[in-house]
Symmetry: C2
Subunit: 146 residues, 2 copies
Amino acid sequence: MKNSLYIVIVGCGRLGSHLANQLSYVGHSVVVIDRDEATFNGLSPDFSGFRVEGDATQMAVMKEAKLKRADVFFATTHEDNVNLMVAQVARKVFNVPHVLARVFDPRREHVYNDLGIETICPTSVAAEMFLLAVASGRAAMGVAQS
Amino acid sequence: MKNSLYIVIVGCGRLGSHLANQLSYVGHSVVVIDRDEATFNGLSPDFSGFRVEGDATQMAVMKEAKLKRADVFFATTHEDNVNLMVAQVARKVFNVPHVLARVFDPRREHVYNDLGIETICPTSVAAEMFLLAVASGRAAMGVAQS
């Protein structure tokens, strides 16, 4: 039984760096991959993981990140197509047991799910929260519920 | 008591158009404001609300959208500064009772909240969901919980 997980994160933007900082902080082994070295500035000074500068759609970069050892893989870039591709490679080629991808276009979620990749869609989640706020606002404003 | 709300949405991107379609569908009066007319193509053919083409940071545009009548105001553009500005104007100048803004940078959320504007941060929400997935993955993979 392991005490910590080996986690690979593609994309070191706001979401990727936040996850990397949090997961490293609680003791997991984290590797972050990004094409743009400057994004690593978003990592906290306490971040104890590894940085891999490179394009995760290239197999050599995935190997450098030791994907084969990974327990968890997160695709968090801003491009849905990149996330879909790298998540598929992580799942099918490197057999990573737990693969999650961010997807911005809600209409693409089922494509990922059909491929065995869990998705998190910030647009859908935000929309639900806005709609919930309207619903609770209606109640607060004394509007008749239909 | 009103059966429907008057809702103004700034930004007709993925989130804004999704909200506009949903809220119009369930019978609310919806006005969508966007600088770029092309974004209105994201509205469903059934959308029965109004489109205002213009820059919501300009008072004339907000007046055209009849902000004074609004029960709910949503700021959903991709620019945090724009969302903060128009949300403030909606709250303070037009006294809209329920104002919500999307904010991408989690570090800015408290600024909005101090100004009485509710925020929804897709980055924070997505991060929580990813972290939750790791936690449940740990359990599924038989990893010792700390």
